[in-house]
């Protein structure tokens, strides 16, 4: 197959994918999104002859627009625009999970400091304030007191861009010092790891230690439901252990997997490329049938 890889940076994750694709003899076109221009009707030349495009844009804004352009051109893209649009925004992400009946932390959104303060008081301390767009644990605030809440909300409303005036407030989940990252392809888990840290943020990007994790049936069920809720694709589903069950706090759409690949026995890029091959084969068969 001929795969286009959309990128703005080739990190180890992209390198693992590129090497796996090339080792299997697939043709790969790397497309640097910084150099492209998108017409309303005709795709740029770099996209000629591609069977599928894998979106590995680091910038959420680029990812959302390019996936939409590609769908308009009729070029298959992983992940879909709908999935990117939901996963890129924490409020849409939480709504999709709640709509699908997937357990997710209690969350409220407000647009003024006064309304946000009312939510904070209702949730009690600590609670968590997150930017609706962002990643790697950046700009997340665990609010421990009224004075901290007032200061953080004032800073966000004064210094932030308009997205920071969408106050996304979440109950604080008492997790056992770790959370679970599952890489899944259309809801099928590829591998999972726990991320442990003494810090309340357990992102691998924040230096959490990682270890392979074996999913039980309930976790697998939730991964499938969470994937379906956001439209499927190659996803990173984040779960926390909460009492006897799990709660899914978010689903990531341009998922990184280098830390996971180092932590688990599974060959992650090989399994992802297996899935990509099957997906392209499936779409081509479907196109032949309907032709």
């Amino acid at each position: 197959m001929h795969v286009g890889l959309l990128y703005s940076r080739i990190r180890r994750d992209e390198k693992l994918l590129l090497n796996e694709l090339r080792d299997r003899g697939h043709e790969v076109t790397k497309i640097d999104v910084r150099k492209e221009q998108f017409d309303l009707t005709e795709p740029p030349e770099s996209f000629d002859g591609l069977d599928v495009v894998v979106d590995r844009c680091l910038a959420t804004s680029r990812s959302i627009y390019i996936t939409r352009f590609l769908q308009s051109y009729g070029i298959p893209v992983v992940n879909s625009h709908e999935t990117a649009d939901i996963c890129a925004d924490k409020a849409k992400n939480s709504l999709a999970l709640a709509d699908a009946g997937v357990p997710t932390p209690n969350t409220k959104v407000a647009f003024t400091v006064d309304s946000a303060m009312e939510i904070v008081e209702e949730f009690g301390y600590p609670c968590v304030l997150k930017p609706v767009v962002g990643s790697w644990g950046r700009l997340m605030a665990k609010i421990d007191s009224e004075s901290a809440a007032e200061a953080i909300l004032e800073h966000k409303s004064t210094l932030g861009n308009y997205e920071h005036k969408v106050f996304y407030i979440q109950e604080f989940v008492e997790k056992p010092g770790r959370d679970i990252r599952v890489l899944a392809t259309d809801g099928e888990p590829v591998a999972a790891m726990v991320r442990s840290s003494d810090h309340w943020l357990t992102n691998a990007a924040k230096g959490a230690s990682v270890e392979e994790f074996e999913l039980d049936d309930r976790a697998k069920e939730l991964v499938r439901q969470a994937s379906d809720a956001v439209g499927g694709g190659l996803l990173g589903v984040d779960l926390m252990e909460a009492g006897d069950d799990y709660t899914v706090h978010e689903v990531n759409h341009t998922v990184e997997f280098k830390a996971l690949n180092d932590a688990v026995e599974t060959d992650v890029p090989a399994t992802v490329v297996d899935w990509l091959e099957a997906k392209v084969d499936g779409e081509q068969s479907l196109a032949e049938v309907s032709a």
């Binding site: 080739i10 640097d32 959420t60 767009v133 990643s135 950046r138 700009l139």
Partner: protein, 59 residues
């Protein structure tokens, strides 16, 4: 065949070693300064300081 190649660190001017299989767009940590550098061309390998992290970057 060597597994490494050399290129000039644009920040320090030092010659630094890179894996021989680097490709355009790849981000490497400079062994001279620790800064993130982007491979902008091959043959010869040219490096530039990688773009700053932006707010909407992530997963």
């Amino acid at each position: 065949m060597s597994d490494t190649i050399t290129a000039e660190d644009p920040l320090s001017g030092e010659e630094i070693e890179l894996p021989a299989d680097v490709e355009v767009g790849e981000i490497i940590d400079s062994p001279a300064t620790g800064a993130e550098l982007e491979v902008v061309s091959l043959d010869p390998v040219t490096l530039e300081e990688a773009p700053e992290l932006e707010e909407d970057w992530g997963e």
